[in-house]
């Protein structure tokens, strides 16, 4: 049997970069500048992105008996992960120094998590998916607790670890039951089994499917498995929160789309209704609780729960209409959320985070560019045209209408209106109030500006000229086979 290693290229590229960063870190004396490590990480991610584009141009192949399929779908998500990792590192460079976290480990762990995500998106076998998930999760548990001198960070890491490991147990039990029912962990064989023997499934196959569903719901933070999200997002270092709410969520949705939405779609009838309830509950609860928050970081955590709800709409809608909006919305969501968290990261002073609404007061006059960018990210998250968030929501709701889930579309639109309340509050604070603490002793952080600028460009570009990205999303989802 031939072993084709080409599809492993992007993941291995990131992995090698992570190892180089880890090793190089050991040769830098304490007290010396570690900026070179961030540079290595960014170069490695750049190379990985170049390889993704190279592979997009050629044939897409599988490796290891097709248990690892680097198709267009996986490449699409690989680019999202690489982008998220790069923007996180850019916005974290100053933050990590100010808070006294270990730089080398920070960048290396971001890269290790990225490797896990790429494996998750490309996994065509439940076991490969599980290994990717754990590679990602374990790295992110540590990242959450990186700020060791801060009690909140440790506590957030503890909660995240407990909930994550708990969810892993359910996920793995689901995999075990599906393996027992179908005799394989390979998704191609499982899906062949489901099509071969319609409806004569052992009861533990359905049970396994539901356990898998619970595991995924935990990972994306869907109601009723959302309770850990606000605490963990608030306690984690701000750049890590951005990374979690974008990349980890995208990785979970990538696996969800490939495994549950696509390969296990014959089981659809059993879980469309529970998913419908979960989607509505997630949107509504996320938005309602976001209104009551005083910290912008915590508000963004609830907003990310709400967005998980919007992202569940295409999954309820199903394979036929759901693929394109799911992928496009994830792309749009990545840009605007990463941007918002990059701005939030730049508001840190010394070892203190300034993330209350009152801290943002008057930012529009002190830091015009950051405030303008933040305003646009907020408008985009709320779904104002002509920004990325609007285009994304438009296609999500359109897919719901076209597939006959009119009620989902209506509830989604009402939720978007609700969300305007707390997103606009940020803008009001920035431009119509005065005397905020943040930005006073604020240092010029050039890298954060670069990250914000890239996210802003992406948000505006996807809003005004979405045709290319839409086409790209369609072809990416179409490459699942």
């Amino acid at each position: 049997m031939d072993v084709n290693l080409v599809p492993l290229l992007p993941a291995v590229q990131v992995l090698v970069t992570a190892l180089v960063v880890t090793l190089r870190d050991l040769f830098i004396k304490d007290g010396e500048s570690r900026g070179v490590l961030a540079f290595y990480s960014l170069v490695g991610l750049g190379l990985a992105a170049a390889e993704v584009f190279f592979l997009l141009g050629g044939r897409q192949e599988g490796a290891f008996n097709d248990s690892y399929m680097l198709d267009r779908f996986a490449l699409f998500f690989a680019l999202i992960f690489i982008l998220a990792a790069a923007l996180t590192i850019l916005s974290a460079i100053d933050y990590v120094r100010q808070t006294g976290m270990r730089e080398g480990e920070f960048y290396a762990l971001i890269l290790f998590a990225t490797v896990g995500m790429i494996v998750m998106a490309a996994a065509n076998d439940l076991m490969v998916f599980f290994l990717g998930l754990e590679t990602m999760s374990i790295a992110v548990y540590v990242l959450t607790g990186m700020w060791r001198s801060n009690g909140r960070s440790s506590e957030a890491a503890m909660k995240y670890f407990l909930m994550g490991a708990f969810a892993t147990g359910f996920l793995l039990y689901g995999i075990a039951l599906i393996y027992g029912a179908t005799g394989s962990t390979n998704l191609a064989q499982i899906s062949a089994y489901l099509l071969d023997q319609p409806s004569e499934w052992p009861v533990y196959l359905i049970g396994g499917g539901f356990l898998l569903l619970i595991g995924f719901a935990f990972k994306v933070g869907a109601v009723p498995f959302h309770f850990w999200v606000p605490d963990v997002y608030e306690g984690a270092p701000t750049p890590v929160t951005g990374f979690m709410s974008v990349a980890v969520k995208a990785a979970a949705f990538a696996a969800w789309a490939r495994i549950l939405l696509y390969k296990l779609s014959p089981l659809d009838n059993d879980w469309v209704f529970p998913l419908w309830i979960i989607a509505i509950a997630t949107m509504t609860l996320g938005n309602l609780l976001a209104i009551t928050q005083h910290s912008i970081k915590r508000m963004l955590a609830y907003s990310s729960i709400a967005h998980a709800g919007y992202l569940l709409i295409p999954i309820v809608v199903g394979v036929e209409w759901g693929g394109l909006p799911l992928l496009f919305y994830l792309l749009a969501y990545s840009f605007m959320t990463l941007g918002a968290f990059a701005v939030l990261t730049s508001m840190t002073e010394g070892d203190e985070s300034k993330d209350g609404y009152s801290d943002f007061a008057g930012l529009g006059f002190k830091r015009p560019f950051l405030a303008l960018a933040m305003a646009l990210f907020m408008l985009s998250l709320a779904g104002f045209p002509p920004l990325a968030g609007f285009t994304g929501k438009f296609y999500v709701f359109r897919s719901a209408v076209l597939s006959g889930h009119l009620n989902l579309a209506i509830i989604g639109v009402l939720n978007s209106l609700l969300s305007v309340i707390f997103y606009l509050r940020v803008i009001v604070a920035m431009y119509m109030e005065e005397g905020g603490a943040a930005g006073k002793s604020f240092r010029q952080a050039p890298f954060v500006y670069i990250a914000v600028a890239i996210a802003l460009l992406g948000t505006i570009y996807l809003g005004i000229l979405p045709a290319d990205a839409l086409d790209w999303s369609r072809r990416a989802f179409g490459s699942l086979e």
Partner: protein, 100 residues
């Protein structure tokens, strides 16, 4: 010869004990042990199915799960130490800095 369903029931019971342990125990170390119990119950399921189906896949998977569980235990204990340094307590109910 013990039938397949006996193993499945046993592993479901062990898994449930693990879940209940995570939900009600008030010591982080015991919670961590309960999570390990859940993973080992899953291992038992894999082995039972592997034997029943006559395929070795399930047994290979168990090795992966054990490796992952070891990595998780290491990280979990490290995080517990880091939390303990701040709070001098292992009771999850006392983790109140962030509203639970």
């Amino acid at each position: 010869m013990i039938a397949l369903h006996n193993y499945l029931i046993l592993s479901a019971v062990i898994f449930s004990i693990g879940v209940i342990g995570v939900l009600i125990r008030r010591n982080l170390i015991v919670v961590l042990m309960s999570i390990e119990l859940m993973l080992n119950a899953v291992n038992l399921t894999f082995i039972a199915f592997s034997r029943y189906l006559g395929s070795t896949d399930g047994q290979v998977i168990v090795f992966f799960v054990m490796a992952v569980a070891a990595a998780e235990a290491v990280i979990g204990l490290a995080i517990i130490i880091s939390v303990y340094r701040h709070r001098q307590s292992l009771d999850p109910q006392e983790m109140q800095l962030l509203k639970w």
